[in-house]
């Protein structure tokens, strides 16, 4: 692997060829703010918050740290006044869309943002695309970026409750502004997007305790992907809680049959 000499904020460091600036910065303890980056997903460079300046050769240029692959010796400046000014504008513009996000509020303080400059847009989404990319990675068919130009928004096909959703909740978990909600009501799981039900997934009832639990379709996908590695193996009729309890009882019983007694120590070993 080729090793590159990089000057990162004035400090000489080495990088692996092909490594992104964001990876290099994290390795070296340099913080670069991000909104649309997730270690689980390919970078999309949509929010542009991680923009930094790179000087390869003699021309400085603005690039996004999350996906810019270092291929030559270069100088990287992650926090110049120009960069900070651009980030400040990004935050101000996004705060006008989504003023209640704690993450944006924190950034707004860090960057000394003037929150009066832009009139509120009354939207609840920063269009970072994390949910759509996470969805694509899991099922690929439920959420996507719909609409053209400035009317772009996260949506299901034809704005209808999606039939493809498996109710995994990845979109809910990954949303940086926490604007996608999930609730389990009356035996179904609902994903709430823009205040609308984006999908309904039937929940099975546990045959053991009678409670509703995670969607079968989601469990099947997890089983398919994880296979033997799952302990205890998911079961489509029993909730994970009962499943764990049953496993514990089974192991305990085996221990009892073998040694005739329950022992604190033995139980721990069995687990």
């Amino acid at each position: 692997m080729k090793v590159l000499n990089i000057v990162l904020n004035g400090k000489a460091v080495t990088a692996k060829a092909g490594q992104t600036i964001l990876e290099l910065a994290r390795e070296n303890g340099v913080f670069i703010p991000t909104l649309c980056d997730s270690p689980a997903l390919e970078p999309a460079a949509m929010c542009r918050l991680c923009t930094v300046q790179v000087i390869e050769g003699n021309r400085p240029k603005f690039v996004t740290a999350c996906n810019f692959p270092l291929r030559r010796d270069a100088e990287v400046v992650t926090d110049s006044p120009e960069v900070r000014h651009g980030r400040k504008l990004i935050i101000e513009l996004l705060m006008a869309r989504c003023p209640t996000s704690p993450e944006l509020q924190r950034l707004a303080v860090d960057y000394g943002c003037d929150l009066e400059r832009f009139s509120p847009l009354n939207d609840d989404c920063v269009v970072c695309g994390l949910c759509t990319r996470a969805c694509e990675a899991v099922t690929g068919r439920t959420l996507s970026l719909a609409g053209r130009g400035t009317a772009i928004h996260v949506d299901t096909a034809f704005q209808k409750a999606s039939a493809f959703c498996i109710g995994c909740g990845a979109c809910v978990q990954i949303c940086p502004v926490k604007k996608i909600a999930m609730e389990d009501v009356d035996g179904e799981r609902r994903i709430i997007l823009h205040g609308r039900i984006a999908s309904r997934v039937k929940l099975p009832r546990c045959t053991s305790c009678g409670k509703y639990f995670g969607p079968v379709i989601d469990l099947n996908q997890v089983m398919e992907r994880m296979g033997e590695r799952l302990i205890p193996p998911p079961n489509a009729t029993i909730c994970p809680e009962c499943s764990r309890r049953n496993l514990a009882i089974k192991l305990g019983r085996r221990h009892f049959e073998q040694y005739g007694v329950f022992e604190e120590e033995g139980q721990a070993n069995a687990g």
């Binding site: 999309a44 460079a45 949509m46 929010c47 542009r48 918050l49 923009t51 603005f62 690039v63 996004t64 996906n67 810019f68 692959p69 120009e82 000014h85 651009g86 504008l89 990004i90 513009l93 996004l94 006008a96 869309r97 400059r117 832009f118 009139s119 847009l121 920063v126 269009v127 695309g129 996507s144 970026l145 609409g147 053209r148 130009g149 400035t150 009317a151 772009i152």
Partner: protein, 633 residues
């Protein structure tokens, strides 16, 4: 074009051309069967002329000519051709031999043309070209200043060939450059020739074509040749006209590129709003394949190149190369970051060479005549010619091809014939929504049109849209128009472009409605500079150009809007009113008769008055007054 022509084109005995020499023989054969002295009627069937009724004119000519015999034996030929260029005077008809030019020809004129001009060599003065402000007619096409001052290298076949008949193009030399590279040049020779010619991408950015080919050829794996015909700039129609009028030059250019970079697959990405271009290509490609000039085993040399047409779905952003490739793959047309360029990893993650229609159309000429010949046109840094779509407030609206380095004033006045209605020139907008306004002649007296010069003054070459603006143009409104266009056409995925355009549009709309605030202009500049440096793709990084360039050169006009609440050009309706100047008004009553809401009163030969409470500011009186007595206040 018509179905009848499509099927009649290739005689059944037309066999595939099995060697490059076979092409020369075939051409010879075609030329020998053609009498250069026989009358030939060329009717422009470009979009403009079609809209003006040229298809009916063609049909009428066919009908009348079928019963006619010139010299008692020959039936005069009629061809429907691509765009002749002088769109504002269509439908255009050129009669050969003699290069006789007729304009605004209607169905009713056809019989007269056949009887007088074709059969008896008499000209019809009423249909001939008269320059603005002159009564003298110009009879030959090549003598009309609009054509005489152009250098037509790329457009050389347009208006001369029937785009639905490949034999017509072959007679004028099409595919001979391809034959030359297949027999006498190695792929590297081709790349060197193109690189030597210093041809730069005609799509707008001006990247050296030879260098692009070279880097694509160096990659491993399946390579693709892609032609970007997703021409979406408002007011631009060069690529559409090229594909409609001379598809074989473009196809030949693509085939030469494929040979040079080692590819056998080509894609032509045409915008769906060009149905005629799509239709012409769907006729041209099978014809070329039937003759063995495209497809498998081209001219018997073993070289394969298959071209597939793909149509867009109406998104402007798909003219951006990575969005175009995503769209070609069947994905949503959104750009991707291009830190790894398409020549390395483009369409289907394979090395892809994407060029614009006009770039490919330049290639056959360079191969046939050599790089030195090509460099004899244009300037040191911008060689060759460029086709512009000249529109706006100019007398001769149409397609013009000029050598690089030509003076902009020469294009507007020499070729374009100046500004209509005795108005003064205020500026020229080049490069479409990514370009800027050049304030000639006031702030900048004149510039030589080239990549570098245009960038210097804050505009770009772009794909070749050139909008001429007169003194009645409001620059704030121009900026708002382009920002509004991009507001709708941005893909919306990255924050600076999406949010920046929302805010710039908001501020510009506010200013044009008379609600501009102190600080708005500075805020526009701040957002504009930010959008241009932080956005993801080429659309975003140039989205603020119309705003920044108009502020740079017309700041006073912005100030007038924001501070004085006045629109000096008289465009933004809440910011001006019309008055009649009592000192110059002759009381002719023309304004009164033109006013649709009867807001003007006054006796004959006495000063007229406008009732402001009734006036709807429709401009009729202002435009109509011969003494310029209606003034903007």
């Amino acid at each position: 074009m018509t179905e009848a022509i499509q099927t009649a084109i290739l005689p059944s005995e037309a066999a595939k051309i099995m060697s490059p020499e076979g092409l020369a023989l075939f051409r010879q054969e075609l030329l020998s069967g053609h009498d250069p002295n026989a009358p030939l009627v060329l009717v422009c069937c470009g979009t403009g002329c079609r809209a003006a009724g040229s298809v009916a004119v063609v049909d009428k000519f066919r009908q009348v000519l079928s019963g006619t015999a010139w010299n008692g034996k020959v039936v005069p030929m009629i061809k429907h051709t691509g765009c002749h260029g002088l769109c504002s005077r269509g439908p255009l008809v050129v009669i050969e031999p003699g290069d006789l030019f007729y304009q605004r020809v209607t169905v009713d004129d056809v019989e007269e043309i056949v009887n007088k001009t074709i059969l008896n060599n008499e000209t019809i003065a009423r249909l001939q070209y008269k320059p603005a402000n002159s009564k003298e007619v110009i009879s030959k096409t090549s003598d009309i200043p609009y054509y005489a001052k152009q250098t037509r290298l790329v457009l050389k076949n347009i208006g001369k060939v029937d785009p639905t008949d490949i034999r017509d193009s072959i007679m004028r030399g099409s595919y001979s450059a391809l034959a030359k590279v297949l027999t006498r040049m190695s792929p590297q020779d081709v790349i060197n020739e193109v690189a030597d010619s210093k041809l730069r991408g005609r799509g707008g950015a001006g990247f050296p074509t030879g260098l692009k080919w070279e880097s694509c050829a160096r990659q491993e794996g399946t390579r693709y040749v892609i032609c970007n015909a997703d021409e979406g700039d408002p007011g631009a129609f060069m690529d559409g006209a090229l594909l409609e009028g001379d598809p074989h030059s473009v196809l030949e250019g693509m085939a030469i590129c494929a040979y040079a970079i080692g590819s056998n697959r080509g894609y032509m990405y045409v915008r769906a709003e060009y149905p005629m271009a799509v239709k012409t290509l769907t006729i041209a490609i099978p014809q070329a394949e039937a003759l063995g000039l495209l497809g498998e085993n081209i001219m018997g040399t073993g070289f394969n190149f298959k071209v597939t047409i793909s149509t867009g779905a109406g998104a402007f952003v798909c003219g951006e190369s990575s969005a175009l490739m995503a769209s070609l793959e069947g994905k949503v047309g959104r750009p991707r970051p291009k830190y790894i360029r398409s020549v390395e990893k483009g369409f289907r993650d394979s090395p892809s060479n994407l060029n614009n229609v006009e770039t490919y159309a330049n290639i056959p000429g360079i191969i046939t005549n050599g790089a030195e010949w090509y460099k004899s046109y244009g300037t040191q840094r911008s060689s060759g010619t460029k086709v512009f779509a000249l529109t706006g407030n100019v007398n001769n609206i149409g397609l013009v091809e000029v050598p690089m380095g030509i003076s902009l004033m020469e294009i507007v006045f020499g070729i374009g014939g100046g500004i209509p209605n005795k108005r003064a020139l205020k500026g020229v907008q080049t490069g479409g929504p990514s370009g800027g306004c050049i304030p000639i002649p006031h702030t900048i007296p004149d510039i030589n049109v080239g990549y570098g010069k245009l960038a210097e003054v804050g505009s770009i070459m772009g794909s070749g849209g050139m909008i001429v603006m007169d003194e009645d143009t409001c620059m704030v409104e121009v900026a708002r128009y382009f920002v509004n266009f991009l507001f709708q056409e941005s893909c919306g995925q990255c924050t600076p472009c999406r949010e920046g355009l929302i805010r710039m549009r908001e501020i510009l709309t506010r200013i044009t409605q008379g609600q501009g605030k102190e600080g708005d202009i500075e805020l526009l500049e701040e957002i504009g500079n930010f959008t241009n440096s932080f956005s993801l793709c080429g659309l975003g990084t140039s989205a603020a150009n119309p705003v920044l360039s108009t502020i740079r050169y017309f700041r006073e006009e912005y100030n007038a809007h924001v501070r004085d609440k006045k629109c000096p050009a008289g465009v933004c309706k809440p910011l001006f009113h019309y008055e009649i100047n009592p000192e110059t008004c002759t009381g002719c009553g023309l304004c009164k008769s033109k006013c649709p809401v009867k807001a003007i009163s006054g006796e004959k030969k006495k000063t007229h008055v406008i009732d402001q409470s009734l006036c709807i500011k429709c401009m009729e009186c202002y435009k109509g007054c011969k003494f310029r007595s209606v003034i903007i206040k």
